[in-house]
């Protein structure tokens, strides 16, 4: 077991003897049964008596060298079982497994069939399951989303793909009024077990309309759940969980994350739709994030660790509802919160999360909740401008330093 001296902010760099009583058990809520590689690092107690405990660094998925999508990854070394794949393949695997398991599961969307999906998530499925089960729709988001909802009310379990999440703005009538509401207005008679999924987020100079973050628009709709995947592991797990759920679930994928590579278990697993994921436990500050910003945060975390900070990074995964248990436990431990998201500043997921944390955990906060969001601007085409609209790792580092003063 390696030992390392942990230096907290402002603490003296005194060495102390190793105290075995400071070993802390691994967290129980991990959702990652296959990931067992952990390194325990013992930290010394600072001479100022400030509370330091173990630094646990778990080899999580990818610490991306830069903001671009990485294709190489340091994967957890498990027992050697498992198979490596890219995120879009993980989504496909999850989808295919559920379609094999239940013949009522079907897919509908633009170019999902013969074309294999514009991001290849449904590749090969039409050949295997036929043109009706993997339905190529005409370009009419509102109508085919509504058709999926009608099919769900009468017994099927459609997975509706928006070729880009932004296109689902055209389906807002159906998603808000019918998807979210019909279970309630029918007095519980009809269930709508649909999954609405698609890629969103800021990509590589795709322009304003293809770079939207719809999670902020949908979050107020009562009756739906929203989840965002960020790794091949949770992509497959969330896809399966969403399909099996009786509630309508909106699964947000990100355009730049489709080529992430990771080794995932061979055996079947699903992820819990309502739970957040502990990415990196820490002591000093809670960083809440989701989707692509997770990687910016982890990159910033490398810098922060070198500077002596110990951030706890949580991928909230469930955008609606929030997992206030995981988040709350973290806030109670670190007393400082930074939210890093890709949503717009105004009315985004971060705004709601800030409100929820302030309401529920106000007494545990030593500093105001800070939220780093994208600028309130239509995403510009120019590369430099686009880079400045989203939160970059350097800004995250600065924010942590500021919060931890």
């Amino acid at each position: 077991m390696a030992a390392r001296i942990h230096v907290g902010a402002g603490a003296a760099t005194a060495l102390s003897t190793f105290n075995s009583k400071k070993l802390v058990a691994p967290p129980s809520r991990t959702n990652l049964p296959a990931r067992s590689s952990k390194r325990y690092i013992v930290a010394a107690a600072g001479s100022d008596g400030s509370k330091k405990s173990l630094l646990r660094v778990r080899h999580s998925q990818k610490l991306i060298a830069n903001a671009a999508v990485a294709t190489k990854a340091e994967t957890s070394a498990t027992t050697g079982t498992g198979h490596e794949l890219l995120l879009f393949e993980a989504l496909q695997e999850g989808l295919e497994e559920e379609m094999d398991r239940d013949p009522h599961v079907c897919v509908m969307g633009e170019d999902v069939g013969h074309y294999g999906g514009s991001y290849k998530v449904t590749k090969g499925l039409a050949d295997k399951f036929g043109d009706l089960r993997v339905l190529d729709t005409p370009i009419c988001e509102n109508a085919f989303t509504g058709m999926g909802i009608g099919a769900a009310m009468t017994g099927l379990r459609p997975v509706i793909e928006g070729m880009n999440m932004g296109f689902l703005l055209l389906a807002f009538n159906q998603i808000s009024n019918n998807c979210g509401m019909l279970h309630y207005t029918s007095g519980g008679q009809f269930t709508i077990p649909v999954v609405i999924r698609g890629p969103g987020g800021v990509g590589r100079q795709l322009g304003a309309e293809h770079s939207q973050r719809l999670e902020s628009y949908f979050q107020s709709i009562p009756g739906i759940q929203m989840v965002a995947c960020s790794t091949p592991y949770n992509a497959k797990g969330l896809m399966k969980a969403a399909i099996r759920s009786e509630n309508p679930v909106i699964l947000f994928e990100h355009v730049l994350l489709y080529n992430l590579k990771e080794k995932i278990p061979d055996e079947e697993y699903i992820c819990n739709l309502e739970e957040a994921e502990m990415v990196r436990p820490g002591e000093h500050i809670t960083i809440l994030t989701y989707s692509r910003m997770r990687y910016h945060v982890m990159q910033a975390a490398k810098t922060l660790v070198n500077k002596g900070y110990d951030p706890e990074v949580i991928d909230i995964r469930s955008l609606k509802p929030f997992d206030l248990h995981t988040i709350g436990n973290s806030v109670k431990k670190t007393h400082r919160v930074l939210i890093v998201e890709e949503c717009m500043r105004t009315g985004g997921i971060g705004a709601s999360l800030t409100a929820a944390i302030n309401e529920n955990f106000h007494d545990y906060l030593d500093a105001p909740v800070m939220c780093l969001s994208s600028q309130d601007v239509p995403t510009p085409y120019a590369g430099t401008l686009e880079e400045w609209t989203v939160v970059q790792p350097a800004q995250i580092v600065t924010a942590v330093e500021q919060l931890c003063q």
Partner: protein, 427 residues
């Protein structure tokens, strides 16, 4: 009985009294390019355009002329049992809606209530041909569709009163009548938003047959109005239904008015049935004040759908005797127009037909009316006596799986707390 839509059926009455104004003929007549799909028949190859201010087209074609025009045989269109069933259903619709108006003005129901008086022939004509497993999708003017489909008057009245015994536990209201048992898929407040849902139900039918290899002959009937026919969802669904050959019938209840907007003022080509052929399905126009004519067209359309031949667009020319809703003062519509359609009251017409053809006598019809009166009274009493929803019902049906409310700070799912459905001041 003709098995395809043809001009010999009295669908348009006679051509001459079809219009008040002489038709504007396009010369040369349109080529067969438009609308010349396989089994489709457009009765006239001349397209006719109305002047925008050409008001009230109304051939007064009574039910008797149905019989006269049928030069084929002297047999009647319906049996006595069928006739009485149709009559009872229309009387139920009319009495129920009249009672709704009374109850509304007495303060028993609130909000927007849209009554169906005058349009009963469409609902009865179509829905009485359906089985329980066929689906019906409607709009906010849905009370009578629900009743025709089999939802009990008690359940509908309770729903209108907002009681727990309502078909949607009081959570839907006038514009959201749902019944899983009777496959009434709603009840939608925004126009057009039910049409994709209906398309989805028809898609399930096809999926069951072709993917799940079950025998499924269920069809879906979608009802909507003339205003909806200018809405994008309508066209998107016509396209998909024809493309995938879904077992669906699109029924346009063209009552010429969308609140205060005349159909002729809002539509470039007011003949809605013509929009069917543009998408590759038959478009039919029928006199929606005549339940027997509607029924004949419906039979054909439903049979087509059950055989897997795809969708049909049926435009029913009809009229609502009351305003758009109980809040509508109904000042824009011309008194003469209202009088003309009142003279074509579908219930009066059917009564006349039944009596003239000796299918029923005055006494039997009076008995039906009395029975329905009692039924509706009893529904009101039942609704009055039913309890209002308690606070614990507030959040009960938001999610089918209540885990969707999430995990609270204490680590337990919120739904594990039995009081959670009462809602909180904060979440």
């Amino acid at each position: 009985m003709a098995t395809s839509f043809s001009a010999t059926l009295p669908l348009h009455g006679s051509q001459e009294n079809r219009l008040l104004l002489p038709p504007i003929r396009l010369a040369p007549p349109p080529s067969s390019f438009l609308g010349s799909t396989r089994s489709l028949t457009i009765p006239s190859s001349r397209s006719r355009l109305y002047h925008a201010h050409a008001a009230r087209r109304s051939p007064v074609v009574g039910v008797q002329e149905v019989v006269k025009d049928k030069k084929v045989t002297n047999s009647l269109l319906i049996t006595k049992e069928e006739g009485l069933e149709l009559y009872e259903d229309m009387i139920l619709g009319r009495s129920f809606e009249d009672m709704c108006a009374q109850m509304y003005y007495r303060g028993k129901m609130f909000g927007f209530v849209h009554l169906y008086n005058g349009q009963e022939a469409v609902s009865t004509g179509f829905i009485k041909l359906l089985t329980q497993s066929d689906s019906v999708v409607s709009t906010y003017r849905d009370h009578v569709h629900a009743l025709s489909k089999g939802v009990s008057a008690r359940a509908v009245m309770s729903e209108l009163f907002g009681k727990v015994t309502g078909c949607c536990r009081g959570q839907g209201g006038s514009m959201h009548m749902f019944s899983k048992e009777h496959n009434m898929l709603g009840g939608f407040a925004f126009i057009g938003e039910g049409i994709p849902v209906a398309t989805g139900a028809a898609f399930t039918s096809k999926y069951k047959r072709e993917v799940l290899k079950q025998s499924c002959e269920d069809v879906t009937v979608a009802f909507f109005g003339d205003g909806t026919c200018n809405n994008g969802q309508f066209y998107e669904c016509l396209n998909m239904a024809a493309l995938y050959k879904l077992p669906i019938i699109f029924v346009v209840e063209n009552n010429l008015w969308a609140i205060g907007m005349s159909h002729l003022r809002s539509t470039s080509d007011p003949e809605i049935w013509k929009k069917g052929p543009a998408f590759g399905m038959p478009g039919v126009h029928v006199d929606g004040m005549d339940v027997l004519k509607v029924r004949e067209v419906a039979k054909e359309a439903v049979t087509r759908a059950r055989r897997g031949e795809g969708p049909t667009l049926v435009e029913c020319e009809t009229y609502r005797f009351r305003g758009h809703s109980l809040a509508d003062p109904d000042e824009l519509r011309d008194a003469a127009e209202k009088a003309k359609y009142a003279a074509r009251d579908p219930i009066t017409a059917l009564k006349k037909y039944l009596m003239e053809n000796k299918l029923a006598n005055e006494g039997e019809l009076k008995m039906i009316e009395k029975k329905i009166d009692e039924l509706v009274e009893e529904a009101v009493e039942f609704a009055d006596a039913s309890p209002q929803p308690g606070r614990s019902q507030l959040l009960e049906n938001v999610f089918a799986d209540p885990k969707g409310f999430g995990i609270g700070p204490d680590g337990r799912y919120r739904c594990e707390d039995p009081k959670f459905t009462e809602g909180t001041a904060q979440v």
